[in-house]
Symmetry: C2
Subunit: 202 residues, 2 copies
DNA sequence: GCTTGATTTGACCAAGTGGTCAAAGGCACG
DNA sequence: CGTGCCTTTGACCACTTGGTCAAATCAAGC
């Protein structure tokens, strides 16, 4: 299952340059809206040279999508039964909001893919993602049963965290237009803490 | 500014057929991902025939976008100082969620446009939309000052309503994958009522 | 049936697209 | 230096795409 690793120093460099450029372009224009020339230009390579490192436009896109899927779910994986319930959830919200702030391109790439029906990651959604969410929903249910947080639907709780945090990356243009260009994140963090605290504090 | 109205019965019918087909296709594949042939096929017309009613692919897209922008904000316009604060806001949430359920294509069309930086509606966002939101934020501030709801940032409150409701349309694929195909809307409505009630009830 | 304007279409085109290929350049190592 | 391999590129190709156009068809009033 492991991709044959790049051999030379230069391969490693060029492959990562291409992926970086691909993320830039794909996140802005979507898969069909992006052209190989655009990506090549952004990467500072000629088109045939780019296609020397990746067999096709789709291969770049897929590699981005799959490697992202992993890291994107890390904050949720870190949600553990260990600590206290509410702080644990608030931490998750903060981590997720930080990702929206620091990795908006990644967020948008995903959003675009899912918006179009997630044709390339349907399996991952119904498989790994569902499994992970089911597992964490169970953790939340325990917290509720133990009276540590108020009773809410665990699935919709998770959806709401995703929706609220990713909104600031995916709809950044709209948010900033309404706020007159002001940075939304400090306000967002405070608001979300308030929101989930009042929702969950027993 | 008014578009020259269609004259004959058949023009009216064909134009609306095309817009309907355009909504179908554009909402699924985005502007660049959609082809004129696709839209023509969906409308049951030949490509040159379609281009007899609209001058270009972009014209269809723009007409959809602009006419949508209007109706899409109606629920927010209906938010009035009249009634009691909390029920008024909960009504807004319910109306917005109903739109996500009943008009997911419209929601996705917008989401796609904004995701790509809203190049075609930037002015509307910074103009009409900002004005409307500023106005309603003021209403919310009055409610807070009068002690009718808890103190929250009015802008982020509005963003959160948008994010939470539209998520169920825009990320439908993901939501249903995680829920195993189950209809998310009944659960969502209950959860959102609970969420905003606990956030806002004084 | 005839005329006139609205409607429809097959054939076509120029530009853009993803991708190929043979040949040329570069580079490390004997 | 020379040899073998990695890297880069200009030229090219098949196909798709948005859009045009002249000619054909249709519909309604006379």
């Amino acid at each position: 299952m492991t991709k044959s690793a790049p051999r030379t120093r230069i391969q490693e460099k060029n492959r990562s340059t291409i992926l970086e450029a691909g993320l830039d372009v794909f996140s802005q224009f979507g898969f069909r809206g992006s052209t190989v020339d655009q990506i090549a230009e952004a990467a500072g390579l000629s088109k045939p040279n780019l296609l020397y490192y990746f067999p096709s436009k789709e291969a770049i896109y897929l590699e981005l999508l799959n490697s992202l899927l992993d890291t994107w779910l890390d904050p949720l994986r870190a949600l553990n039964d260990d600590g206290k319930a509410l702080p644990e959830i608030l931490d998750y919200v903060r981590r997720k909001l930080a990702m929206a702030r620091d990795f908006p391109r990644e967020s948008r790439l995903f959003a675009g893919e899912i918006l179009q029906g997630a044709p390339r990651i349907e399996d991952a959604l119904k498989g790994d993602l569902k499994t992970l969410v089911d597992e964490k929903a169970e953790v939340i249910r325990h917290w509720i049963a133990a009276g540590k947080i108020k009773e809410v639907d665990p699935y919709h709780l998770i959806f709401s965290i995703w929706a609220l945090t990713q909104h600031y990356a995916d709809f950044d243009t709209q948010v900033r237009a309404v706020l007159g260009g002001q940075d939304p994140f400090p306000g967002a963090e405070h608001y979300l803490e308030q929101l989930f605290t009042s929702l969950l504090k027993p």
